[in-house]
């Protein structure tokens, strides 16, 4: 629909920072009017680095992984292009996609063992990939030409025209930057952008609403590598030679520096970082040997003065110059319909569940059944295994024994996101939220329908997810001004309710709550009780861990009391309260009686 496109385009234009618009105009005029052919060549190189960095942002900025392998993908792309072009005489239309694919294939290959590594181990492993590639390029002389590299790579030729220099070269390279930037920008917009951010900043919370953080990391890593491969192909064609230099650490360091100086997540940051750092050595040529020193100092100064990069600073400057860039108006649909559409047919059957941590049996042979519409209360002294049971059911821990059967399907040992997608939602003992996001977005990110739908524009899907999120938050008494605040600023009670709203936004059949009433005042507790009662009445099954007997007694249809990982009593609240073993577990054996086991 052209009108929809026009509206979307208008919205996108309104979001454009006027500083960038001015910068773009300046650059175009400079490139076309003032730049000589040497300057244009430098601009072309900056464009190549911009592509490399846009890809690196996907890995470093969006997936949050300190990869040091981006230069290896760049180098691989360059070598693939050089070999295909010089040995087989293949044209750009073949070498470019081939380089992209080769880098993506290498990334996919190494991703399986490497992506499960944590922070520093991941950094070292990716560094090792780069260094091994460098050593291979130096050693494998018959293929790579060794230290001297491969020469005679022809310039890009399209439809019979060789593009060697000038405006056409710039148009080609910066056209690809525009395409690559647009692809990356679309990828990180909308509900997917929220999911990516959640997976990076709060992986546990992301898993609990069904976001597959591992797959997201994989996709971003492979895609980022493809950008690197493409940039490498262009580099080989532009310079005409490929030597092991493209694999050395300085390329990686430049890429990292450009990302930091420009900004980790904004596409504009990649472009600004690349333009700036490619030109910096030119500007400081007069400093001779000490020139590169300036490079390091600029990096150090930027990271101290503007840790979120120049684009972060530009966003603040824009806010300062043109304040009140309007936040989207809260659109709260009327309070209609029910909070839950969970079918009452839900049945969760836990049998002989066991878990050991070292020598400690945290959970021993626990069995129970839970049906839609029931509220099961879990009580027990600290360390009796309550939270471990929830962790086993939601997939955060893997059981050592026993079965967890949800509607006939054994989900024991599944990953958290798969379990969440089957309809088990969770709120944690300490609310796990994406602190840098608004309450609204924290809830919107749980909307899997919006995340997975491909039918319409990401901006619209995000608006839909937010509208639905607003209705959940509204029902949990989070006002429209609080919705638009970052959750880090919200008081404890509100944070708990945001987390429950997030769990509900994923439309669970079963909701699992770990001490939801802790830290709430009397009014908040009462409101929570009535919400939970409503949910059960609408067919949802709930498991609630709570220390406050009073809170549970009018609420739970059944209680299970645990001690040292074992069920010591179950039944109605009254029956459990009178149970001698339960009293002993909480208060110690009654004086005069034998210490019961």
């Amino acid at each position: 629909m052209p009108t929809a496109w026009r509206k979307n385009a208008a919205r996108a234009a309104a979001g454009l920072n006027p500083l960038y618009a001015a910068g773009t105009v300046f650059l175009v005029v400079y490139a076309l009017v003032f730049a000589d052919s040497y300057d244009q060549r430098i601009l072309a190189i900056a464009g190549i680095y911009a592509l490399l960095v846009i890809g690196y942002q996907l890995v470093f900025g969006h997936a949050g992984a300190i990869s040091l392998a981006q230069a290896a993908f760049f180098g691989l792309g360059a070598y693939v292009t050089a070999l295909l072009a010089t040995r087989l005489g293949l044209p750009f239309l073949v070498t470019f996609p081939a380089s992209l694919a080769a880098a993506a294939a290498l990334a996919a290959l190494v991703a399986l063992p490497v992506l499960r590594l944590e922070s520093h181990y991941f950094a070292l492993a990716t560094l090792a990939i780069g260094q091994a590639a460098l050593a291979a390029a130096v050693n494998w002389e018959s293929l790579t030409g060794g230290g001297g590299g491969l020469g005679g790579v022809p310039p890009v030729s399209l439809f019979g025209f060789a593009i060697t220099r000038g405006v056409w070269l710039l148009a080609l390279i910066w056209g690809l930057v525009a395409v690559g930037g647009a692809v990356a920008w679309l990828l990180i917009r909308g509900p997917r952008g929220l999911a990516i951010r959640a997976a990076r900043e709060a992986p546990m919370a992301a898993g609990a609403v069904g976001i597959d953080a591992g797959r997201m990391r994989f996709t971003l890593f492979v895609l980022g590598a493809a950008y690197g491969g493409g940039a490498g192909a262009l580099h080989a064609h532009l310079l005409g030679v490929v030597s092991p230099e493209v694999l050395r650490l300085p390329v990686m360091v430049s890429c990292l520096a450009m990302t930091i100086i420009g900004g980790r997540t904004r596409v504009a940051g990649a472009i600004i970082g690349a333009l700036l750092l490619v030109h910096l050595p030119e500007w400081f040529r007069f400093a001779e040997r000490f020139g590169p020193l300036v490079y390091g100092l600029a990096l150090l100064a930027t990271i101290i003065a503007a840790p979120d990069g120049l684009t972060g600073a530009a966003a603040r400057l824009r806010q300062f110059l043109w304040p009140g860039a309007p936040p989207p108006p809260p659109e709260i649909p009327p309070r209609a319909g029910s909070l839950s559409h969970a079918p009452a047919s839900t049945e969760l059957k836990v049998s002989d569940l066991s878990k050991r941590f070292g020598g400690v049996a945290a959970v021993r042979d626990v069995s129970f059944t839970l049906r839609g519409g029931e509220i099961l209360g879990l009580i027990g002294p600290n360390g009796s295994g309550k939270t471990t049971i929830l962790n086993l059911i939601t997939g955060i821990e893997r059981p050592d024994g026993g079965r967890i059967v949800l509607n006939g399907e054994d989900i024991a040992g599944w990953n958290p996101h798969r379990i969440a997608r089957r309809g088990i939602g969770r709120a944690f003992q300490t609310p796990m939220l994406v602190e840098s996001m608004t309450a609204l977005d924290n809830v919107a990110l749980a909307n899997q329908t919006a995340l997975n739908a491909r039918a319409y524009y990401p901006g619209r899907r995000l608006a839909d997810a937010r509208a639905e999120a607003a209705s959940f938050l509204d029902r949990l008494e989070i006002g429209s001004s609080a919705m638009h605040r970052r959750v880090a600023e919200l008081p404890h009670g509100a944070r708990r309710r945001v987390e429950i709203a997030r769990a509900l936004a994923a439309h669970p059949r079963i909701l699992v709550l770990d001490e939801p009433a802790a830290g709430l005042d009397e009014n908040e507790r009462e409101a929570l009780r009535s919400t939970l009662r409503d949910l059960a009445a609408q067919g949802m099954a709930l498991i609630v861990i709570e220390h406050d007997f009073h809170f549970l007694s009018g609420l739970a249809s059944r209680l299970i009391c645990l001690d040292a990982g074992q069920v010591i009593a179950q039944g109605t609240a009254d029956a459990v309260r009178r149970n001698r073993l339960v009293v002993a577990a909480f208060f110690g054996p009654t004086p005069g009686e034998d210490g019961a086991p």
């Binding site: 063992p113 490497v114 050593a135 291979a136 520096a257 040997r289 390091g296 840790p307």
Partner: protein
């Protein structure tokens, strides 16, 4: 190369790597941050002794403590430039600031001394030592001996002095350390002093045995990084063992194949090790510090 010479070379190289790796471990433990400039700081120490040897005519053994104290002071300055302004940022930010500092150091050394490798002063003057019929390279022996003394000294300070206990307390739990009245900021500054003093010693020891050039820092840092990872993050003896493993692997393969082939197999081995044991060859005992 004879087996003895090979062993001596491997030990000397491993000893220098160990000193760089130990500094690395101290800083990782105290701050949770990876210091990417550790190698460049070692090179800076090497060039400092080269410069000192050009001014005063003293044996290396005397220059060593001077260089270490100077580098320790420099380490404090380094902490105030590259770490303290960013201590509340995510660890990746400090990682990058140390990379930036490393670039500054490397290019500073390049600007002042030029890119060519320089020879540092020997620890002890004189030729090879003859010991019950075996000819032993004197410098290698001296390097190993000095390293042993430094590591033993570090171990003593950390384990048996009140100062060391405070350093360890800071490394284990800064919040708790602050709560019991330990000046955490000062302890972190001391940690940087100690770590970079050790790096300076490593640089001096390397500069005589293997020459030293401004571009060597990256390679040194990589080897220390590998040593620390193989040894399990944050463990002193793990880092020493890791450093020796890396050094012997490199020395032996370089003789059998070539230097660049040795590098390639080293990195491939790292990938295999991490693939099989995601927490390092010798395991990780301290809590994770991301």
């Amino acid at each position: 190369m004879s087996a003895i010479q090979l062993t001596a070379n491997g030990l000397a190289l491993g000893a220098s790597y160990a000193l760089v790796a130990l500094g690395f471990v101290l800083i990782v433990n105290a701050t949770g941050a990876v210091n990417f400039a550790q190698g460049d700081l070692a090179v800076a120490g090497g060039f400092l002794t080269v410069a000192l040897a050009g001014v005063v005519n003293l044996p290396g053994v005397v220059l060593l403590p001077i260089a270490m104290v100077a580098m320790a002071g420099f380490g404090v300055a380094f902490a105030y430039l590259a770490y303290f302004p960013l201590r509340h940022q995510p660890p990746a930010t400090v990682f990058i600031s140390t990379i930036a500092f490393g670039i500054v150091l490397e290019n500073g050394a390049n600007g002042l001394f030029g890119a060519a490798p320089r020879l540092g002063p020997p620890l002890l003057p004189g030729g090879p030592v003859e010991l019950s019929g075996l000819i032993l390279p004197r410098q290698s022996l001296a390097i190993v001996a000095v390293t042993c003394v430094l590591i033993a000294g570090l171990q003593f300070v950390l384990m048996h002095t009140q100062f060391g206990r405070r350093l360890r307390a800071t490394a284990q739990d800064a919040e708790m350390a602050r709560a019991v009245g330990i000046p955490v900021g000062a302890m972190i500054a001391w940690t940087f002093a100690l770590a970079i003093g050790l790096a300076g010693a490593a640089g001096m020891l390397l500069s005589n045995q293997f020459f030293i050039a401004p571009g060597d820092g990256t390679n040194l840092m990589l080897k220390a990084y590998i040593a620390v990872t193989i040894g399990g993050w944050g463990r002193i003896w793990g880092a020493v063992a890791g450093a020796l493993i890396v050094a012997f692997f490199e020395t032996i393969l370089a003789v059998l194949l070539s230097q660049s082939a040795a590098e390639m197999f080293l990195y491939l081995a790292v990938l295999v090790v991490l693939g099989l044991r995601p927490r390092g060859l010798l395991g990780e005992t301290i809590g994770r510090r991301a």
